[in-house]
Structures are given as structure tokens and as C-alpha cells.
């Protein structure tokens, strides 16, 4: 009998013993601490190490910063040319031409020989945008007080409506604690369809200082009753002197802004630029028309004033940063921890303030942006800055006449004029920068892991990560195969089986 045979038998038995004991101890530990599993604890510790929480707004703002008006951007000065001129503001011919080309192509044109721009793609785009167009109208161009985003704060039900809860109830609901209020509001937002939600204090720096709304009040909402004599008179007297409002016209003093983010379809955005990519954005805009309105009605039924907003009312990106949803980036959009820049943002303004506010968080995006520049490389019109460091003033070619850039905030300034030129050429809202961003990934564990490792690493590793991202085939743009992939039933279960 050799020594080896004896030890082999003993070892095997020992092996099963060790395995059995380990399994029993593991199972026991899991049942004893069901809320504190190893994975949960590990995840929390890692996230705490990677995510930095800030007490103040994490981007430098100069003292001479002035909040913009809602027409200080290229879309407004292109889509509302006559109205802008009527209030005595200037318009630029090239921007007007780009806007007209964009509207013409997006609304009326398709080409059955062009992949991503045929009639079926156009139909997809139309369906995706439909809810926004019907319910929130010009909100994407930052025009407030329209449709579901009405400023109206009724205190009674509409007389002729069978069901109507869109009014501020008399009794104010008392939450037991601020945390309970935050938990319930966020849960409600999730139920209605938000993917991310954060709550922050209203900050006048991020609100538009004045609002252009050329639509007559009678046509801002579906008529629930025949127009009254006063409404007809208002329509008759409607004119440029009434196009501009400011905060003195707003029905209450907002104290809190609830910021909502909606994840856009990964495969859809990957097709950018195309009508399919634009449809992915449009589906996000339709969510922006629906969910904030539902949350506003929820707050009204808690007894508080509330107004929902998409792109209107204020700047969504700084509000999203303040509410802890994301970080600033080179491409000018908020980059979220879970979905990267592939989100649409919306807001609800309310006077409810008995709530636990979120704090801004950062997780290394701006550091990564310093070295990456994939969006800047991918942008066909080079509208995105190649500067290493962010700056308070725009540095692009049109910097001397960059009335559309917010100055005094330390960030990367995008040349919106160049960006909009491409919109006019394509007839859709591009999205190449978003599709090319290394933070734009499907929601899978390995991307969260890589993002976390990247956040903990210094600059030279970021260069490597950027190159690896390209090698691994992520962030390809203008890839016609992506359209086929979007429509392919492969990997999708339509009947749920």
C-alpha cells in the first residue's frame, strides 16, 4: 500500500467535508443576515470609494454669471424667427436656414433608398415623438406653459370632466419625516416611469430668467369647455407685447426641483445619426411629456403647487448635477452613473420643501473627459471642444459671437451653431456624441465594473481605456449595420416567452 493512495482517500474525504461545512456556514450566514449579503456590502463599499458626494455645486461658477433667457439658444432663434424679431431680438440667417432645413426634413421628408431615413424609419420617428408633440408641444425648444406643462394651479375639478385630479387639493399631506417624503416622491416617480430621480433645492442660477411663449393661451391646452368671452378677447388682443413672461408671472414661489432622467434605447441611439436614432430621442421626449406631469398631479394631490417641465423653465443639466443624477462632461450633457449620457432630463417645480434633498455626486467623468475626446473626434462638424481643461468662456471658432453659450461656468463649451448646422443637413437631431461616448453602454455588470475601475485610475489609464473601448467595438457611429441590428428580432422576446 503506497503512501499516496492513503493520502488521496483522506484528501477526497476532507475535500467533501470542507465543502459541506463551507456550504452550511454560507447558508447559515445568508439566512442570519438576509439584508446584508456579501455582494451588497462589497458593492456599497466600492461605490462609496468611487463616488464622491459634494456639499456644494461641484462646478465652479463665476460671480458675473448671468442666467440665460429661454430664447438664448439656436433652436428658439431658428424655429420662432418672426416672434423673436417681434420682441426686438436678432436672428442670424444661417441659423434660420439650418432650422428650416431641419424642420422640413424631419417633418416631411424620407428617402426609401437611404438606410435609416426611409418611410418606415420616418414612421418610427413620428410615433416616438407623438406624445411630446401632442402633450408638451414646444417644450423641447424650451418654451414653457404649454399642454401638460401648464402653469395653471386650479383648486377645483373641471366642471365638465368625468375624472379630473389635476388640481391642488386643500388639505396638505403631512409626511412623518423628510426622508419619508423623499422616499415616497422618488417611488412615485419610478412608478410613473422615471429611470432616475433626484431632488434638489430650486436654484435661480439654473432657471431661465425670462420666457418667450408666443402661443396664445387659448391654444396651449385642449379645450375642456367652449371658450369664454374673456378667452376670446385675450385671443383677439394677443400680440408680441405678451410673448415674454418672467418669474413674476409664475403662480407660486418654487422651493424644490425634482429632476427625472429617462434612459434612451441603447440600440436606437447606436444608429445615430438616423431617423431611428432620432426616434430613440423622441421616445425619451414623449416620456418627458408624460412622467413629470403625472408627478406634478401627484404633488398637487398632496396639497402642493407643482409645474412639470421638459427642456423648459430651466437648464436641466446643472439641475441634474445638483440633484446627484450625473456629472458634467465634454459633450455638454449630464453623464449618469447607470446610463452615461444616454438620458433625457425633465423637471418638476414645486413649493413643497419638507423633503430630504440629494447632494451632487461625481465619479470621475470630468477627469476621464480630459483625456478621452471620443465625442470631439466623432463629431462631424467639430462642434465639441478639444481643450484639455474646461473653461469659463467658450474657446471655439465662433467664440466672439457665442450668444448661445452660457458664460461664467467652468465647463466645455459646445459650439451649438456648428452642431445645429448638422441637424439641418441630416434632418434629425444627430446624437453621434452620445453614441460615441465610452460611458454610453448597455446596463450590464462588466461596464459598471470598468467604469468604476476607470474612475479609480489616473489619467494615462484613461487613454488606455479609450483605446480599448475602440478596440472592443463600442461607440461606432455612422454604422449602417446598427439599423439592421435595431430591427432584428435576435435577442428580443416580443411575446414574453
Amino acid at each position: 500500500m503506497s503512501k499516496n493512495e492513503n493520502s488521496s482517500k483522506l484528501n477526497r474525504r476532507d475535500f467533501f467535508k470542507i465543502g459541506g461545512i463551507t456550504a452550511a456556514v454560507g447558508a447559515g450566514a445568508l439566512t442570519t443576515f438576509p439584508q446584508k449579503t456579501a455582494a451588497k456590502e462589497l458593492d456599497k463599499r466600492l461605490v462609496d470609494k468611487i463616488v464622491t458626494t459634494h456639499d456644494d455645486f461641484p462646478v465652479e461658477v463665476r460671480s458675473d454669471y448671468v442666467p440665460p433667457r429661454n430664447w438664448d439658444h439656436v433652436q428658439a432663434r431658428s424655429f420662432f424667427v418672426n416672434e423673436i424679431r417681434a420682441i426686438g431680438e436678432t436672428v442670424e440667417d444661417d441659423i434660420v436656414a439650418d432650422g428650416q432645413a431641419f424642420v422640413q426634413k424631419m417633418n416631411f421628408a424620407y428617402d426609401n433608398d437611404k438606410i435609416g431615413y426611409n418611410q418606415a424609419d420616418k414612421a418610427l420617428l413620428a410615433g416616438a415623438w407623438a406624445m411630446n408633440n401632442y402633450a408638451a408641444g414646444p417644450s423641447p425648444a424650451a418654451v414653457p406653459n404649454f399642454g401638460v406643462n401648464s402653469w395653471e394651479q386650479r383648486t377645483d375639478k373641471v366642471q365638465f370632466a368625468l375624472f379630473d385630479n389635476d388640481y391642488v387639493v386643500k388639505e396638505k399631506y403631512q409626511f412623518e419625516s423628510k426622508q419619508e417624503a423623499a422616499n415616497q416622491i422618488k417611488r412615485a416617480a419610478k412608478l410613473f416611469g422615471a429611470d432616475l430621480v433626484g431632488i434638489t433645492r430650486r436654484d435661480k442660477r439654473w432657471d431661465y430668467s425670462k420666457f418667450l411663449n408666443p402661443v396664445s393661451p387659448l391654444f396651449r391646452k385642449p379645450l375642456l369647455a367652449p371658450p369664454s368671452k374673456e378667452q376670446m378677447e385675450e385671443l383677439h388682443n394677443w400680440g408680441p407685447d405678451k410673448f415674454v413672461n418672467d418669474w413674476s408671472d409664475f403662480p407660486f414661489e418654487p422651493k424644490t426641483v425634482i429632476v427625472l432622467a429617462f434612459n434612451m434605447d441603447y440600440e436606437g441611439i447606436s444608429t445615430s445619426p438616423s431617423f431611428v436614432g432620432s426616434a430613440a430621442a423622441g421616445a425619451g421626449y414623449s416620456e418627458m411629456a408624460k412622467v413629470p406631469y403625472q408627478l406634478a398631479v401627484y404633488l398637487k394631490n398632496l396639497g402642493f403647487n407643482a409645474v412639470s417641465a421638459g427642456n423648459d423653465m430651466g437648464l436641466s443639466v446643472p439641475y441634474a448635477i445638483a440633484a446627484g443624477l450625473g456629472e458634467a462632461s465634454r459633450l455638454g450633457q449630464a453623464v449618469t452613473y447607470k446610463y452615461g449620457p444616454r438620458v433625457r432630463l425633465a423637471k418638476v417645480y414645486t413649493d413643497f420643501d419638507f423633503v430630504e434633498y440629494d447632494k451632487p455626486k461625481s465619479f470621475g467623468v470630468m477627469d476621464f473627459c480630459k483625456n478621452c475626446m471620443r465625442c470631439a473626434d466623432a463629431c462631424p462638424t467639430k462642434a465639441i471642444s478639444f481643450d484639455k481643461e474646461p473653461s469659463f468662456e467658450p474657446t471655439h471658432d465662433n467664440k466672439d459671437n457665442a450668444w448661445y453659450n452660457v458664460k461664467g461656468v467652468k465647463k466645455y463649451h459646445v459650439d451649438a451653431k456648428k452642431c445645429f448646422k448638422l441637424w439641418g443637413e441630416l434632418g434629425d437631431d444627430c446624437g453621434i456624441c452620445m453614441a460615441s461616448c465610452p460611458y454610453n453602454k448597455p446596463d450590464f455588470w462588466h461596464h459598471r465594473l470598468v467604469d468604476s475601475i476607470t474612475a479609480a485610475m489616473p489619467g494615462p489609464v484613461h487613454d488606455l481605456m479609450r483605446e480599448m473601448d475602440i478596440l472592443f467595438g463600442y461607440g461606432n457611429v455612422e454604422d449602417k449595420e446598427s439599423i439592421k441590428k435595431f430591427y432584428s428580432p435576435e435577442g428580443k422576446s416580443y411575446d414574453g416567452h
Binding site: 493520502s7 484528501n11 475535500f15 450590464f444 472592443f472 467595438g473 463600442y474 435576435e490 416567452h497
Partner: protein, 96 residues
């Protein structure tokens, strides 16, 4: 659909991990690994399992190129390390 790909992936990873642990235990009893063998084998097994997880996940998310790159970047080095471990372990056993 009862099991989606991700459940099958993590079940398979559990099986591979268990097998790897068992094999390491068995061969350590037989060949008595030294420190360099241990380092090489541990990194090799970790990279192999990570590579399989990466590539499978990339296929599930519809990124076949990322899956192929996962095999090249993680799995091939892991196989090289495992072969090196084998060589180191056998060399030590032969030198006794």
C-alpha cells in the same frame, strides 16, 4: 423564457469555479505548488473565469466584437498563465 442568458452564465461560472477549486486542491496535494505556481494559477483561473463572463455578457448585449476581444484579451493570457503554472508545478515535482 424561464432562464435568460445571464442566469445560465452565472450558474456556469459557479460550476467552472467549483471545478477549478477542486482541481487546484487535487493537484496541490499531488504536486505541492510553490509560491510562483500559486500566483500564476490564481491569476490564470481568475482571468479565465472573467474572460468567459465578459465574452458571454457581450454576446448577451449584442456586441460580438467585444466578445471576441474578451477572448483575446482575457482568455488567451489566462490559458498561457495556466500552461505556465502547469510547467512550473511539473518542474518542481520533477526536481524532487
Amino acid at each position: 423564457m424561464i432562464f435568460t442568458g445571464i442566469e445560465i452564465l452565472f450558474f456556469s461560472l459557479g460550476v467552472i469555479t467549483t471545478l477549478a477549486t477542486g482541481l487546484i486542491y487535487y493537484y496541490n496535494q499531488k504536486l505541492k505548488f510553490n509560491i510562483s505556481t500559486w500566483i500564476s494559477i490564481c491569476i490564470g483561473v481568475f482571468l479565465f473565469i472573467f474572460g468567459i463572463a465578459w465574452s458571454f455578457s457581450s454576446i448577451l448585449e449584442g456586441e460580438p466584437r467585444a466578445a471576441s476581444m474578451g477572448l483575446i484579451v482575457f482568455v488567451i493570457p489566462s490559458l498561457i498563465l495556466l500552461l505556465l503554472s502547469r510547467k512550473l508545478a511539473l518542474k518542481k515535482a520533477a526536481s524532487k
